[in-house]
């Protein structure tokens, strides 16, 4: 079947299999490999993208259900001011080690910070319950968010 949706601000028309996941379309058909497959069961959050602004696990999200919707991946968030600020803060704060989970974290956190300009650390720890990082222990990721928040609020 044919499906039309908006990816990172550009309209895309793709031929898809009705059973295909959004992650499969992004990675295999559009070669947007910044979004990662870690578990394919909605547990690790490495595949997190934004659909109409909300974070979803694209590995268990039906591609067909994305028709007409607006999808943002890490590649698009690199062109977004908030996304770029977060990315720079991740690097500066040591919030990225192997980096495989990072695109998913960026997606979740963009969504969180669009809703709430200054979340508490407890809010963030809860909001990140769907994103697993095996390397960092999360502290430096939280530092990166704090740095992003103070930088943006100081602008």
């Amino acid at each position: 079947m044919e499906m039309t949706f908006t990816v990172n601000g550009t309209q895309a028309k793709v031929e898809i299999d009705p059973a295909e996941t959004l992650l499969g379309v992004l990675r295999e058909r559009l070669r947007l490999t910044g979004t990662k497959e870690g578990c394919n069961e909605g547990e690790c959050g490495a595949c997190t993208v934004l659909v109409d602004g909300l974070p979803v696990d694209s590995c268990i999200y039906s591609a067909a259900a994305t028709g007409g919707r607006r999808v943002e991946t890490v590649e698009g968030l690199t062109l977004d001011e908030l996304g770029r600020d977060l990315q720079a803060a991740f690097v500066a704060a040591g919030g990225v080690q192997c980096g495989f989970c990072t695109p998913g974290f960026i997606a979740t956190l963009v969504s969180v910070l669009r809703e709430n300009e200054a979340p508490s650390e407890d809010d963030l720890r809860t909001a990140l319950a769907g994103n697993i990082c095996r390397c960092t222990g999360y502290s430096q990721i939280l530092d990166a968010v704090a740095a992003t928040v103070s930088r943006r609020n100081g602008r």
């Binding site: 490999t33 990662k36 870690g38 192997c98 989970c101 319950a129 697993i132 990082c133 502290s139 430096q140």
Partner: protein, 760 residues
């Protein structure tokens, strides 16, 4: 101006946060097709039927391979006990039986599932104690035919995969005259490394050689293993590394790589890619081994430990991997930080019909220190003395001699570790402030920095920047993207951004011992420092004529070669490098480094394969926990680490290793459960049931680095990454036992066990 100890952005940071970095699973070759494996569904059995006809006729299929299509060869890191595909017998669930190559991944998996396979189940050896009993079936009836990969054979036989025994004089006599004897038994489950990027590999057979693209911690080990399985010489295999999505030891040995290589050969050189599903990855991963540890200590009337006995039985799984080498680590941990008199150590590694175990950060040490530190708490409680005071009374000082004869000149650093913890969390205050269901645990450890060889070439470009050619890999720690980068930048007086380190390629860079044992910053950093020194000397020699000064009067600093003490008399590195093109030719330097093993007594034990611990580091941890009496959940409220690091090269890298390792240790202590059923199969099979630590599970670790620069390390560096995973299970178990008033001697401590203990 120095960059050592400064916070710098990791060189691969931007590509990782933006999604541009190409990991192993992202890598693609032109015209690439896909592979899949048929794996054994049972842990022990005889293959009675294996017919690939139907699979071969499936859409898109190019090749289906079984043992009949593979070289008749045995491979293994330490012992050559493994075939590429199961032959007649299967020995663990997930063992490859056949491999398929097809146009798409879905076609390859469908064809693998269509292979006609029948297996007659056989009894599985699962229980560790039973594995060594005379009536246990042999996992490998043909064990005698296995040949060590290098060097002489080691103690092994039947289901005993390796053994290391140290039996010094005086143990039995001390136990006979002991005032009391305190005994404990500890059980630790397996732990899955659970890196977020599943394993993958792309194989290409071209010009009679195999090229393998993989995201791997140890490319040279992949080269060796593939060459063994495919029965070609090592140089017939080229391994190209890609960005790694975590490894933690599980990506040190080959996995999918030899299958990708053999499949490519079978399809006349088309590139073939394999990628694990998460469940495949979990059930076949060389996890941290489960173990039973039994400890006895003899104590005199004054409360001094006068002798000790430690027995550990560890689960090798169905094949040996790296494990036999590690058996002697028990000797180094049994009496590693506290005096305990003559100590008998018996370490046995047993074959079972389960997935082969392997290296996971802090190999063997996590459960050995859990045992030793739980035992210390038990002894102190029996004697009615304070746990901390009892530890300090037995604590090693400078010059202590270990069971293997190694002398720890600087073990007094341990006391500094306890002092650093005390300053931040005074023990008496913690005791005085204690509330119901809260507990405190403390413990100490020592550890090694892996000494394996490494080498680097530093090339000076004509624009004044440098490239470092090395087969070292950055598994995410920052050891390459920050540590080695900073060492080279410092030596050459250039910004870290002017140092470029390419990904590993075994055709290009010399041997490297891999991203393991906290070795990269120290070993590769040192090799790169030596290489940079050669560059410095060459720069000075070229510049000497241009600056009309003697080479020994020159220095390389701040992007220039300049005459010492003569302001303004200088040239940029770029100018010198360009001049060199017309005088001596391109400037580059080479460095190699390996840490020698410290002196030891070879007669101290049998099976002493890892004889001593090079470049020791010292560690003291404290945890405060709270137990929820309704749910049985344990929450870590506070976690402190004092750690000897040599010298901090990269603060973000160092803290990142400590915080990350403690988090893995908290998971190990409390909820990462990789249980094995009676059928030898894992009960946990996905990340839904295998519960990893989340952001809400871990406190911010309070870290106190202790710096005693190592004269042999680059700018004083020692290893950092592994040590902090050694103690969380120990100190959390001590803290939970303290909170409830009952001993918790199993890892992990589950809510069910906590509730049972509260209710009993």
């Amino acid at each position: 101006m120095t960059v050592i100890g400064e916070r710098i952005p990791r060189s691969d940071g931007q590509s990782k946060v933006s999604g541009e970095a190409i990991y192993g699973v992202d890598y693609a070759e032109p015209g690439m097709i896909w592979g899949a494996l048929l794996r054994s569904p049972v842990s022990s059995g005889r293959i009675t039927r294996l017919d690939t006809t139907a699979a071969m006729a499936m859409p898109g299929v190019h090749a289906v391979l079984t043992a009949a299509d593979a070289p008749d060869a045995y491979a293994g890191w330490v012992l050559r006990d493994q075939r590429l595909f199961a032959v007649d017998r299967v020995h663990f669930e997930g063992q490859p039986i056949a491999a398929v190559a097809a146009d798409t991944l879905a076609q390859a998996r469908a064809a693998a599932a269509a292979i006609d396979l029948e297996i007659e189940p056989l009894p599985a050896v699962v229980d560790l104690d039973h594995a060594l009993s005379p009536d246990a079936p042999l996992v490998h009836p043909d064990w005698e035919s296995f040949v060590p990969t290098a060097g002489p054979d080691f103690p092994r036989g039947g289901n005993l995969a390796a053994e290391s025994i140290s039996d010094p004089p005086g143990v039995d006599e001390a136990f006979a005259r002991a005032h009391r004897v305190i005994s404990d038994e500890f059980v630790a489950q397996r732990q899955y490394q659970a890196y977020i990027e599943p394993k993958s590999a792309v194989g290409i057979f071209r010009d009679g050689r195999y090229t393998i693209h993989t995201a791997h911690q140890f490319p040279y080990n992949v080269r060796d293993r593939v060459s063994q399985f495919l029965n070609v010489r090592p140089s017939a295999v080229r391994v190209v590394g890609h960005t790694i999505g975590g490894g933690f030891g599980a990506k040190l040995d080959a996995s999918l790589e030899p299958y990708a290589a053999l499949l490519s050969r079978a399809v006349r050189g088309l590139a073939v890619k394999l990628v694990n599903t998460r469940t495949e990855d979990l059930i076949t991963c060389p996890s941290r081994e489960g173990a039973i540890t039994r400890l006895r200590s003899a104590v005199d009337a004054e409360g001094n430990i006068i002798a000790r006995e430690l027995e550990v039985i560890a689960d090798n799984g169905a094949y040996s991997g790296e494990m036999p080498w590690l058996a002697s680590i028990a000797l180094h941990c049994a009496r590693g930080v506290y005096r305990a008199g003559p100590t008998r150590v018996v370490a046995r590694l047993v074959y079972t019909n389960t997935t082969p175990t392997g290296a996971f950060r802090g190999v063997n040490g996590t459960y050995l220190y859990h045992a030793v530190e739980r035992h210390m708490d038990h002894i102190a409680a029996e004697l009615g003395v304070d746990r901390l005071e009892y530890r300090l009374r037995h604590l090693f000082t400078d010059g202590e001699e270990l069971l293997n004869g190694q002398v720890l000149d600087d073990a007094g650093i341990l006391r500094q570790g306890f002092e650093a913890i005390e300053a931040a969390a005074p023990w008496a205050e913690l005791q005085a402030e204690k509330r119901p269901y809260r507990g405190i645990g403390i413990g100490a450890a020592w550890w090694l920095t892996n000494p394996s060889a490494g080498t680097a070439v530093v090339k000076m470009h004509e624009d004044g920047t440098v490239a470092v050619v090395t087969a070292a890999t950055d598994n995410g720690s920052g050891a390459v993207s920050m540590g080695v980068t900073q060492v080279v930048a410092e030596r050459l007086g250039i910004p870290p951004a002017d140092v470029h380190i390419a990904l590993p390629d075994t055709d290009v860079a010399g041997f490297d011992g891999g991203s393991q044992g906290s070795r990269t910053t120290r070993i590769v950093g040192k090799a790169s420092q030596i290489a940079a020194d050669e560059v410095v000397e060459k720069l000075k020699n070229v510049a000497a004529g241009l600056l009309e000064a003697a080479a020994e009067d020159l220095e390389v600093a701040e992007g220039t070669v300049r005459v010492k003490g003569v302001p303004g008399k200088s040239m940029t590195l770029a100018e010198v490098a360009v001049t060199a093109m017309n005088t001596v030719g391109p400037i580059q330097g080479t460095g190699s480094f390996v840490t020698p093993f410290p002196d030891f007594n070879p007669g101290c034990a049998t099976g002493l394969m890892l004889p001593s611990f090079p470049t020791p580091t010292y560690h003291v941890h404290l945890a405060e926990v709270e137990v929820d009496p309704v749910t049985g959940n344990v929450r870590v409220l506070r976690y402190l680490v004092a750690q000897e690091v040599g010298r901090v090269i990269s603060p973000d890298g160092t803290y990142g290793q400590v915080m990350g390792a403690v988090t893995q240790g908290i998971g190990y202590a409390l909820h990462e459960s990789l249980r094995i059923g009676e059928d030898g199969r894992y009960r946990e099979r996905t990340l839904e049931s295998y519960r990893l630590p989340l952001a809400g599970d871990v406190p911010r670790v309070e870290f106190f680095p202790l710096e005693h620069p190592d004269p042999d390390g680059p700018f004083g560096a020692k290893g950092v990454g592994e040590g902090p995973v050694l103690l969380p299970a120990a100190v959390i178990a001590n803290a939970v036992s303290d909170a409830i008033g009952k001993p918790f001697n199993q890892i992990p401590i589950t809510p069910e066990e906590v509730l049972a203990a509260i209710q009993s």
